[in-house]
Symmetry: C2
Subunit: 320 residues, 2 copies
């Protein structure tokens, strides 16, 4: 199957011209609830048709919140309108239909489902349903598949001690690095620093990314996948004031002791050995350093992590 | 704010005992639609109350599909039942309520929303709504926040050539590594190999992880975040048969040429330089190697990526 970008790219290529033209015409007329010529059914109160907004990928989107005339409709009347719209969209060669439904208008969901729509995603106070109208299997991109968790390995090079905790309410009380889930839109380094402070009271600064774990069908992620990253942090304070609700124990532990203890997780043990190696041979041996760059199309910034390069390889080449 | 594991841990600690007991009792009686003593309202057809299943975190879940008696109810009657249940759950000290609603029963969503519920997530043919009943701000974990995309840098050490493509329908036709979105449950290495084959017809094998990019508010990810990883792949075939629908061009390009060209993205340029460094100094200088390990609690396996360690550091320590 194709990745989203490819899917969209493919759909866009296929329908670029016709949609480009029709989109221009439609936008000129404006999207909304048109009350003219063709009607979706004989019933006068349903005169007019469900108008959507075209996207550049050959799909059509209907934002129910923008269609005041829909507010009075019952589920059956909405179903007739939508059925007529789907027929029209198919004849116009649309590849997909999207319905954006405010949570208080959710009585329109079941009728849409009875016409083949299903949930693409929903969050907070609205849901989005899709119906694939193109040829072959759906090429619509899926929704987010991963939660992201980050742990912080706060290591003090001068004392060779690293900050570790034992979670409460675990079957086995094993030493691990403090951490937790990223907030929406939060960079991994910020998550590590925040979680370390919330759990232990220790302030720190992001230094590098050390390790990435990918796990699927995670029960704590509602069956979705989990990306868990461990960052190396530099301590900025040393006094421990740990969260009694989350942690059973918290201490600065000698790194070699952590690397050798059996009372820890495989990941913690490996990262402890990585840190020991970095402590002795130089952190450039284990770090993935971070740099911030502008995205080519959106203009937004992103953060890139990879092994550091010797000076001779850093000279600017390509679009930097 | 706390990460999900911590949130759940905290909630679990707080309500572990009472919930543990009540859960046992309730499960003995079975969850469902109880028709005895207390009724949710005066109306006889609504006799009985909405029973949920307790979770180990102090929350209560109602799977509407399992409540046959609900099928006949209209939105107003369901709202009265739910309102009574919420009152009862609060008095019992529940921290949260979850509603799992089949898409064809979505007429129950708006009444639930009018009582404070909102969407936690929805996919395919069902939605899940939540209402926080505990003290302070909600400590419920969020849903997946990231989509994961993977590109494959297929490098032939013997010819120093790397496989690159130019996407169709891009504003700028820049050389990049083939790649695309991971399918649900797919490991990053498998995504890289699959996408490279789908786009270019070249077969390859996963070798290592080279780079990770994190980007937020990605329009192509429906406003969610994006984790984009680049893997180093070893070619297993060399004949190019690229996807005309997705690619404009595809070729084996000399690595130094790619590292120097201006007609590429910052990430591709950096990874090209990384590969050049690895080609000359050894890939152990740039690779994040992968190992598969069993998860401590779930027993599921996960994949861990980090810098390789010298033999002397690999000796087993900790729970390996």
């Amino acid at each position: 199957m194709l990745g989203a970008t490819e899917k969209l790219g493919a759909a866009m290529r296929w329908l670029w011209r016709p949609v480009g033209l029709q989109a221009a015409l439609l936008r000129a007329g404006g999207a909304g609830f048109r009350t003219e010529a063709r009607t979706a059914s004989g019933s006068p109160r349903e005169a007019g048709e469900l108008q959507g907004e075209l996207d550049r990928f050959g799909g059509v989107s209907v934002h129910l919140a923008r269609h005041r005339a829909l507010h009075g409709l019952d589920a059956a009347a909405f179903r007739r309108l939508l059925q007529a719209a789907i027929k029209r969209w198919r004849s116009e060669g649309r590849v997909a239909a999207w319905l954006h439904i405010p949570i208080l208008q959710s009585h329109f969901i079941a009728p849409a489902a009875s016409l083949g729509f299903c949930f693409h995603h929903a969050e907070s106070h609205s849901s989005t349903l899709t119906l694939w109208l193109g040829e072959g299997p759906s090429r619509l991109p899926g929704y987010a598949t991963h939660q992201v968790g980050v742990a912080g390995a706060v290591f003090d090079d001068s004392t060779r001690k690293v900050l570790v905790v034992q979670d409460r309410n675990k079957l086995k009380n094993m030493w691990k690095f403090p951490g937790g889930l990223s907030e929406p839109g939060e960079d991994i380094g910020d998550t590590a620093v925040r979680e370390v402070f919330e759990e232990t009271g220790v302030k720190s600064e992001f230094r590098s990314l050390l390790s990435i774990r990918q796990q699927h069908r995670n029960p704590e992620a509602f069956g979705k996948s989990d990306m868990y990253l461990i960052c190396r942090l530099q301590p900025r304070s040393f006094t421990i004031n740990f969260c009694q609700q989350e942690c059973l124990k918290c201490e600065w532990m000698d790194l070699e002791k952590l690397a050798k203890t059996e009372n820890t997780t495989p990941i913690t043990s490996r990262v402890a050995r990585l840190l020991l190696y970095g402590h002795r041979e130089g952190f450039d041996k284990i770090d993935l350093s971070m740099e911030e760059l502008p995205a080519v199309y959106t203009g937004l910034f992103y953060k890139l992590y990879h092994r550091g390069l010797p000076e001779s390889y850093r000279t600017t080449m390509g679009v930097d």
